[in-house]
C-alpha cells in the first residue's frame, strides 16, 4: 500500500536556539537519507511538526530552500504541543510532514525590490524568503526590512539582524514599542506602521511582504497603500487553525478556500475578497 499521507518523516533536532522569551528555533535534519534526497520545498510553505504522544503543530519552514542540509522552524509556546516541543533537546526525534501550501511567486520578482514588514513572531515565514533572496545574490533588487517587537527581549534572530544590517543590499529598520527599549538601544522606537512611514520605501518596481499580528498588518497596509503599493503587490500569509495541512480536515476553511491548500500565501487583493473568517 502507498505511504499514508499522515506518516511523518523522522527528524533529529541538531540545534536549539533560544530566540526570545518562549520562542525557540530548532534545526532539524532528516534521519533517513532517502527522505532527505526526496525532499524539497519553496519559500512560503509550512509543515506539521510533531512530538510522538503529544500531537502535531503547524509552523512555517523558517529556513531558506537554498540551505539544503536541514530545515528550521521557529515557534512560540502556545499550547500542548508547543509546550512539549519547548522541552525537547538536541538529539531528540520529531516528526515532520510537509511541505504543504502554496509558495511566494518569487520567480516573478526577478529584478524587483522587496520590502519585508514583520512584527513579533511574524518574522519566521519572512526570514525564509529573506535568506532565499540574499542567497540568490543579484537576482533581486534592493531589500528593505522593517521588523518590530514589543521589547528588545522579544526580537527574534538577533544575530541575523546584525548580519543583515551589515549587508549593503539591505536597509534594515528594527523597532521596539515605546517602553520596550533600554538605554543602549540604537534602533527605532515606535510601532511598525509609523516606522514604515518614516523610512518610506519606494513602491515602483517593488513587492511588499507582510506578516505579524492582525492589528499591525491592518495599520501597515494602510501605510503601504499610501506609499503607492497596490494590493496585488502586497503578499501576506494567513494563519488559521490547522490539523491536516492538506485540505481534508476542514479546520482552516475561510469560506470555500482552504488556507492550507489555497494558501497560506495570499496577495492583499485576494485577502480582501475572502469572507472575514481568518
Amino acid at each position: 500500500m502507498e505511504k499514508s499521507w499522515y506518516i511523518p518523516y523522522k527528524m533529529k533536532i541538531t540545534k536549539v536556539i533560544n530566540e526570545a522569551v518562549n520562542v525557540k528555533t530548532f534545526r532539524l535534519e532528516f534521519v533517513n537519507p532517502e527522505d532527505k534526497a526526496a525532499f524539497s520545498f519553496k519559500a512560503g510553505q509550512f509543515g506539521e511538526y510533531s512530538i510522538f504522544s503529544e500531537g502535531e503543530s503547524t509552523f512555517c519552514i523558517a529556513s531558506s530552500p537554498t540551505r539544503k542540509d536541514y530545515i528550521e522552524c521557529t515557534f512560540r509556546t502556545a499550547g500542548r504541543v508547543t509546550n512539549a516541543l519547548a522541552r525537547c533537546e538536541e538529539g531528540d526525534i520529531l516528526g515532520f510532514r510537509g511541505p504543504y501550501g502554496n509558495v511566494f511567486p518569487m520567480n516573478n520578482w526577478a529584478g524587483k525590490n522587496i520590502v519585508f514588514v514583520a512584527g513579533g513572531i511574524g518574522l519566521p515565514p519572512l526570514r525564509c524568503v529573506i535568506w532565499n533572496v540574499l542567497d540568490l545574490g543579484d537576482t533581486f533588487g534592493h531589500i528593505t526590512i522593517v521588523y518590530g517587537a514589543k521589547s528588545i527581549e522579544e526580537l527574534v534572530y538577533k544575530d541575523e539582524l546584525k548580519e543583515w544590517s551589515k549587508n549593503p543590499k539591505v536597509t534594515l529598520a528594527v523597532t521596539v514599542d515605546p517602553g520596550g527599549e533600554n538605554p543602549e538601544w540604537k534602533g527605532h522606537i515606535g510601532f511598525v506602521p509609523d516606522v514604515i512611514r518614516k523610512i518610506a520605501p519606494k513602491s515602483e518596481n517593488t513587492i511588499a511582504l507582510i506578516c505579524g499580528p492582525p492589528i499591525m498588518i491592518k495599520l501597515s497596509l494602510t501605510v503601504l497603500n499610501e506609499l503607492g503599493f497596490s494590493d496585488n503587490n502586497i503578499y501576506s500569509t494567513l494563519e488559521n487553525r490547522m490539523k491536516c495541512g492538506i485540505g481534508q480536515c476542514g479546520h482552516c476553511m475561510v469560506g470555500k478556500k482552504y488556507v492550507c491548500k489555497d494558501g497560506p500565501v495570499f496577495t492583499n487583493e485576494e485577502i480582501k475578497a475572502l469572507p472575514l473568517e481568518y
Binding site: M1, S4, F52, G55, A78, T82, I93, R241, K243, C249
Partner: protein
C-alpha cells in the same frame, strides 16, 4: 451499471445473507444497539433492521468515529512507526439507502487524493435497499435523489410482489452468484434528466449572495453548537488529529470533529475566526449547499434528514437555506 436482475423470496434473501456470513464474508448492516439503529457487523440475517433509517449514516463504515493512522514506539534516540493497515476487503455493506450511496459518491470525490480512504471506499461491496416511504425529515427528493433507485451501488433491492427484485452489476454478481437461468437483463429505469434540479442547485448557490444576510442570526438562534449534525451526516468529513500514548509508545488517530463546535476554529491565542453560532451555522449551511459546488462540483447535502432528527433543536438545514433565500 445494474445490468442484471433476479427475484428472491423473503426466505431466499435471508439464506443469501446468512450464506455470505457462513462463507466468511464480513457483513455490515443496520442493527439496533441499545435502541439506536446504526451500521455494525452482523452474525445473522435476523439482526438486520431493514425498515428504519439509521441514526448514524453508513459513512462510519469507512470513516469510523476514530481511526488509528499509525502506531509508534520510542527507544533512546529512535522512533519506530508502523502504519495501521485496515482495509475493507471481503466486506459487504447491506441495507444502505440511496442517500447513503450518494454520500459515498461525494466522499469518493472529496477524498480523491487520499489513497487510504479512497481504497476503502472502492473496496467494499454495497447492497442498497430502495426506500418505499420517507422517514422523518428526509428531503432527498427535493435534491433530485430518487429514493426508489440508485445506480451508485453494486446490488439494489426493491420490494416486489412476494419478495424482492434484485438488480446488480458485475461486483454484485460475484456475491450473489445466481443460477444463470434465474438471471434476466435488468429493466433499467433510465434516470430522467431533471432540469428543475439544476435550477434548484443554481438557486441554492445564490446563498453566497446572502453571506451577509441578517437572517443568519435568526436561523442560528436554536443552534447549541454540538457535533450531532456533523456526526450523523453521511457527507461531513471533518476530523481532528490526536495523539494517545506515553513517552514509550502510542498511536496517532484521526477522530470526528464538527464545524458547529466553538473550538473548531479557535486559535491558541484565543482569537476565533468564527466567534459565534451565527458564523458556525452559516458555515455549515454554506458548505453543504454552496462551497462544495465549487470545490467538488456538487452540493454535499443528500437530504437524508439525519441531522434534523439528531439536532437538539431539530433545526432543518434545508428549510433554513430556503428561509435565507426568501
Amino acid at each position: 451499471m445494474l445490468n442484471k436482475q433476479i427475484h428472491y423470496s423473503n426466505q431466499q434473501l435471508q439464506s443469501w445473507v446468512d450464506g455470505l456470513i457462513y462463507k466468511g464474508k464480513t457483513v455490515i448492516g443496520p442493527v439496533k444497539k441499545n435502541g439506536v439503529t446504526c451500521f455494525s457487523e452482523i452474525k445473522n440475517f435476523n439482526e438486520l433492521i431493514l425498515n428504519e433509517r439509521t441514526v448514524y449514516s453508513a459513512k462510519e463504515v469507512v470513516l469510523p468515529k476514530y481511526d488509528i493512522l499509525f502506531k509508534f514506539a520510542k527507544e533512546k534516540d529512535k522512533v519506530f512507526i508502523s502504519k495501521n493497515e485496515n482495509s475493507l476487503n471481503n466486506v459487504i455493506v447491506i441495507g444502505l439507502r440511496p442517500c447513503d450511496n450518494e454520500g459515498f459518491d461525494y466522499l469518493r470525490l472529496f477524498f480523491k487524493s487520499d489513497p487510504d480512504i479512497l481504497q476503502k471506499l472502492n473496496t467494499f461491496i454495497s447492497v442498497t435497499i430502495a426506500c418505499e416511504k420517507k422517514f422523518d425529515g428526509c428531503f432527498c427528493e427535493e435534491l433530485g435523489i430518487d429514493k426508489n433507485y440508485s445506480n451508485k451501488t453494486d446490488v439494489l433491492i426493491k420490494t416486489s410482489e412476494n419478495g424482492y427484485d434484485i438488480y446488480f452489476n458485475d461486483r454484485g454478481n460475484e456475491i450473489l452468484s445466481p443460477q444463470a437461468s434465474d438471471v434476466k437483463p435488468a429493466e433499467i429505469k433510465k434516470p430522467v434528466p431533471n432540469v428543475s434540479i439544476d435550477n434548484k442547485v443554481a438557486y441554492l448557490k445564490k446563498l453566497s449572495e446572502q453571506y451577509n444576510s441578517e437572517k443568519w442570526k435568526i436561523v442560528s438562534m436554536g443552534c447549541l453548537g454540538c457535533g450531532s449534525c456533523a456526526f450523523v451526516c453521511p457527507t461531513c468529513t471533518c476530523f481532528d488529529v490526536q495523539d494517545e500514548g506515553n513517552t514509550q509508545n502510542g498511536q496517532r488517530l484521526i477522530c470526528w470533529d464538527a464545524c458547529g463546535m466553538g473550538l473548531f476554529t479557535k486559535h491558541a491565542s484565543g482569537h476565533n475566526p468564527r466567534p459565534s453560532q451565527v458564523e458556525r451555522r452559516r458555515h455549515r449551511i454554506m458548505h453543504k449547499f454552496v462551497y462544495t459546488q465549487d470545490t467538488e462540483g456538487k452540493i454535499s447535502c443528500v437530504g437524508c434528514g439525519r441531522c434534523i432528527a439528531a439536532c437538539p433543536a431539530h433545526l432543518n438545514i434545508y428549510n433554513q437555506a430556503l428561509q435565507i433565500l426568501q
